[in-house]
Amino acid sequence: MNAWVGVELENLSIRFGDFVAVRDANVNIRGGDFFSFLGPSGCGKTTILRAVSGFLAPSSGNILIGGKNMKGVGPNKRPTALIFQNLALFPLMKVWENITFSMEIRGARAAERRKRADELLEMVALTGQGDKLPAELSGGQKQRVAIARALCAEPHVLLLDEPLSALDLKLRQHMRTELREIQKQVGITFIYITHDQGEALTMSDSIAVMRAGVIDQIGNGRAIYNDPATPFAASFVGENNVFRGKVVQIIGHEALIRTNRSGEIRARISTANLGKLQQGDSAMVFIRPEALDMAGADLEGDHYVSARVTNEEFEGDVFNIFMEGDGGKEIKVSLPNRGQSFESHKGRTVTLRYDVKNAVAMPAGILATE
């Protein structure tokens, strides 16, 4: 493969009439990366992808592929291949004809196409299925054909629009690994769209979290999970407990926040919000269920919250405890199952401990609704 081709979005905005589907997006996708756009449905992910592949002209801003501005370049002239949300396999063509459609366009001979189709079929584990029609394949097989067809065009950037959303859970998890392997094998840039944070976290080198046309945060999975930039990112990616309150005191990179129900909480200010919190501001603190524990020995760096237990459940790998939180949302604690006996605390007020580095504070904002 030639030099890796990256994609840049510069102040990209896309409007449909008065409706702003994408607002001022700035993203720099490195060549060879597996990059994901993660956001709830309707937030503008497909719109961005269609703009990158050339089906939509940006209302303002630029799209650069491999450093070249794509303004005025049609979808058939861009070094991208899009895997559509509904796959869009050609129903009247056999699998091998589907896969090598891009070669047919360039006038390749049938024998040559057939040979290439067989190579690609082998790569996506569909050897021997070339003479079937798309309608004769299962969902997962169609998925692979769509991938093979896109790869046959030898794009520098492969765009995937929620390609796994139609598959059942088992197959989806299997395809995750497979996609990632294919990406490593062909070594081209993948831009992947999903509303499933599990997919984004497991596959991506880098993730952009989107909310209603706006990109909230860009970073690798760990950064987004451990150090969210906005309340939306914190609540959309993975489970999170939220505590609302007012800033009492700022101590370096930490803040003391008086919560509405759970007393004073000491938390680390998230990297993106350093310097943005002042005493008296409304703030939110996020602590993940697995970062909370029943209070035990008084360890260094530990801090505490207290709340009344309302419910408990055994989930197998974890034991979940639900407690009264503020704003109607309960606090969830997940205790890993290591064979210990869990005693019931239902109805009692318990004290929980956490590590300050696992409590993230930021200015109050909009949460992801579920």
Partner: protein, 393 residues
């Protein structure tokens, strides 16, 4: 009880319905094989294939068929092209204009064919004059005018067929092809056109049939190219012969044959698809006659073959069968019957004049004259060979 009653009611209804639908066709087909010179089925005379022969020898009918096929072919090409492009425009046009556009394009279906015929004639005549061309120019040629005139409304039918198919087209297929490097022209040729193929075939058949049977538009513009319908209507004005029934029989048979063949092919394709996708086709076996693969569960294929064999048998019979003997016998029979009747009547008259002539004070000269006069036509013509010919044929 009432359920049974209603079921019988439905069955009776169905019988009446199909009798109403197919009865005229059946009776007309029968008349094509009856030697009676007026198309009739009921007093069955002799089986004959002569009407087919006289049909083939009728140069005006044959010429009409040729013109109809020529015009039909032209109309198919023009209407399918216009219908397809009309449908494509409809799917892409600015949504607010769509309703208006649709109304305009569909309007020709609602306009009486007569009006379309006259306006085609007038319009092209004006154009012809405007361009200063003579009466012999292409623009006043009957072939040209008829194809154009018929296409005005047949194209609308074609468009409706195309729109129905296009509405099921997934636009992302075009986008996928574009994305893979195809030019818009390649997308049209390699993706959209193959998808539209069934609709194009349907529209073409529809267009041909509509053109073939058209009369009221064509009648104004056919010029030097009278179509079959025009020829038939002119012929019927001077009386119908069973040769017309023979033609109708051929058309009906062809229609059924094509429809069945189409159905058979479709079934076969479905069967093949089912086999390909791995669904096991249960073939009824055990004591039953096993049909060849194409026929299993495919009644249409069986019927097509039966019809084809029937046609071969019929043509074979027609080539050796001579109805002359039967017709001669019949003529003789009729002659005999007529003679008998005449004799009967004479005897009656004789009996009347002999028995009552003297008793009743009626002038013997004038009294017998009265009844014969009322039946006189019959008496005199019975012995007229020319009239007999007419009765017997």
């Amino acid at each position: 009880m009432s359920q049974l009653g209603s079921r019988i009611g439905v069955q009776i209804y169905l019988v009446i319905f199909f009798a109403y639908l197919l009865g005229p066709l059946v009776i007309m087909s029968v008349t094509a094989f009856n030697s009676s010179s007026f198309p009739s089925a009921m007093p069955w005379e002799c089986l004959t294939f002569d009407w087919f022969r006289s049909l083939l020898q009728d140069s005006r009918i044959m010429n009409g068929i040729r013109n109809s096929i020529l015009i039909g072919a032209g109309t198919v090409v023009l209407s399918v092209l216009m219908g397809l492009s009309g449908a494509l425009v409809l799917m892409r046009i600015w949504p607010r204009l769509r309703a208006t556009y649709y109304t305009i394009v569909i309007a020709p279906i609602l306009i009486p064919g007569v009006v379309l015929g006259i306006s085609t004639l007038v319009f092209w005549d004006r154009i012809n004059r405007l361009l200063g061309l003579g009466p012999g120019s292409v623009l006043s040629n009957g072939l040209f005018l008829t194809i154009l005139g018929q296409s005005t409304f047949i194209a609308s039918y074609c468009m409706l067929v195309m729109v129905a198919r296009l509405q099921r087209y997934d636009e992302t297929l075009s986008e996928a092809a574009l994305d893979l490097g195809a030019t818009p022209a390649q997308v049209f040729r390699k993706i959209l056109l193959p998808f539209m193929r069934p609709a194009i075939v349907t529209a073409a058949v529809l267009a041909f049939l509509a053109s073939f049977e058209n009369y009221n538009t064509t009648t104004f513009i056919f010029g030097e190219y009278p179509t079959l319908t025009i020829e038939l209507s002119q012929k019927v004005r001077y009386g119908v012969t069973p040769a017309v029934s023979a033609l109708a029989f051929i058309i009906v048979a062809l229609t059924i044959f094509i429809a069945l063949a189409n159905e058979a092919i479709r079934r076969r394709r479905e069967l093949v698809a089912a086999v390909r996708s791995g669904a096991s086709v249960t073939v009824a076996a055990g004591g039953r006659v096993t049909l060849p693969r194409i026929f299993s569960g495919n009644i249409s294929a069986v019927l097509v073959v039966a019809m084809a064999m029937g046609t071969i048998v019929m043509i074979g019979t027609a080539s050796v069968y001579r109805p002359d003997q039967c017709i001669a016998d019949l003529r003789q029979e009729k002659q005999l019957a007529a003679q008998k009747r005449a004799e009967e009547l004479r005897r009656q008259r004789d009996a009347k004049t002999g028995g009552t002539g003297e008793n009743v004070g009626i002038d013997p000269v004038t009294s017998p004259a009265a009844p014969p006069r009322s039946q006189g036509g019959g008496f005199e013509t019975v012995f007229d060979p020319g009239v007999l010919q007419e009765l017997g044929n």
